[in-house]
Amino acid sequence: MEGKALANNNGSNYKEMLRRVFNKKTAPFWLLAPTFIYYLVFWFSPIFISIKEVFTTLDGKFTVLGNFLFLFEQETFLPALLNTAFFAVASVMLQFVIALVLAILLNRKFKGQKLILFLVMIPMAITPTAVAIVWKTGLISSGWINSILQSFSVLEERIPFLGLRGIEAVIMIILIDTWTVMPSVLIILIAGLGNINEETKEAAYIFGASKWRIIKDITIPLLKPSIITAVILRMIAAVQVWAVVVMVMGFTNVPFLVERIAYYVGPVSSLPYADKLAYTYSFLTAVIVFIATIVYFKISKKGTALDRRTQK
């Protein structure tokens, strides 16, 4: 009898303890703890290491700007920075415009709409390595792009696409990138369009808005959250472009920020200062992505419903 009571008592004590540890107040803590620990070990500490690296010289002395100055001296740095900036802005804009037009066209029901959507989505699932091959088979001088141009007798001479450099090469990479990632923008915009209440558009139509005005005055403003989401996600990815560049154009020919990182950790990783440069490049890239995102947030939120509401 006594033993049982004791056990019971123990049991309730135990339960009581559990309850004290796991309750509504502590629940978010327990739910977030694994992620928190994970990030502490595998994100923060590497970042810490890399920040330490960025601010120490090769022989371990503290320096604020030393590594940055060394980085700026690299002759590929400025082209890499400019190429990346141009790429990020132009590719995101191009992809957004194409995706928006397509989303609006594909949002209406017609025969073959599903099929077209399916076809357009395919490139999204293609691995960057494979994308590079798809386009490389086209860009070599006996490739299919020259074949097509020739068969439409657009030109006599074959264009050595892979020999392009500078801005032309960047534009080429923008087109390739657009081919593969436009669908991921499209998905977000189409989902956003699907969420817009049809009656809001009909109401505009009733009051005399043309199709164009409905798109401009109603659809696009209502699509804004999806647009912001899509553009941010794309921008973060665009600044980090490199795989397609390297696999199509090779290292160093058309420098980009992350292409430089890959270069210093890949082919020339044995150089004594390679790691230093890689660390500094990643640090810089992260800072640029961060600033770009913040700036975009600020610009895009200005003038949206949300923002004006909070100002009142």
Binding site: A204, A305, R309
Partner: protein, 368 residues
Amino acid sequence: MAFLELVDLDKRYTQKGNLIVKHMNLSIHKGEFLVFLGPSGCGKTTTIRMISGLEEISGGDILINGKSVVSLPPKDRGVSMIFQSYAVWPHMTVRENIAYPLRLQKVSKKDIVTRVEKAAAAANIMELLDRYPTQLSGGQRQRVAVARAIVVEPQIFLMDEPLSNLDAMLRVSMRSELKNIHESLGATSIFVTHDQSEAMSLADRIVIMKDGLIEQIGTPKDVYFDCESIFVASFIGVPPTNFFHVSVLKDDAGLLLKSQDVSYRVDALEEKMLSPYVGKEVVMGVRPENLEISDTFDDNTFLTTHADFIEPQGSHIIVISKLESSVIKISSSKLELQAKSLIHVSVKDRKAMFFDKDTEKRIRLQEE
């Protein structure tokens, strides 16, 4: 003269699909408040959308002021509409919402300001003008939709279940506001609803639809007391009309309607009407309030039964009684009536309606 006319209007959504609206004919007078009433899926929304120009028609014609408008977009038809979801634009302030239709019409800035304020005043939302729709309650959004609809000074005012998302109290007060606005504008209004009390209280005339067909067009009183069909009689009124399948018998005294449960002596007027049906069955419909309960049996007694259940309603009671073949409901003011007591029921003032059993239409006096 008819202001808005629907002539043999047809609608099918797919090429080979069923007709959703079948050969509809309707004329609406200027200034009239017309209500479409009918069960879900009967084609009310479809019809109103065809009138607005949101939906293509599949056949027939729509005339406004005698001119066909089927090829015109909504803005050239002089219509404006209130949607069930209100469809106020969430990214515009209330003021912008109301002004937008005017901006589309290229009204001057100054006029826009005055007209917006006038419409806002009429809809009673002056103090909400600078808010966004997400900061408004359902009822307030509804008012925005109303202001936006009236600011364009429409000739025809279309409303598709505009009150169905509001709570019961608000519904009743908005109802009368809508009616007021309608009257002060002098516009012609078409209002769609499921709710019969809404229909009754608002309408000049009610159009009762079923499966894409018009069952009856009439004043609220007509559609209640003078039903054209079994459907109308059963659809309108709570509790609904009591129906009795009776045989028309002829004897020395004239015509007698009889079934297992009831017996009804036909008067001269009714005899004229029912004489073609001698030897056949007809359906007799009597509204619950047209059945009268008395304690004693007499010549007029229609049926005798027990009051199985009694539902007190405050001012009156509903007596429910199971007959052999059906259940009847009687609305009575005999508040003292005990459940289970024997009751004798008669038809008040011969207020019975007779329907053809096959066509389900009302049997009327044939004019010679």
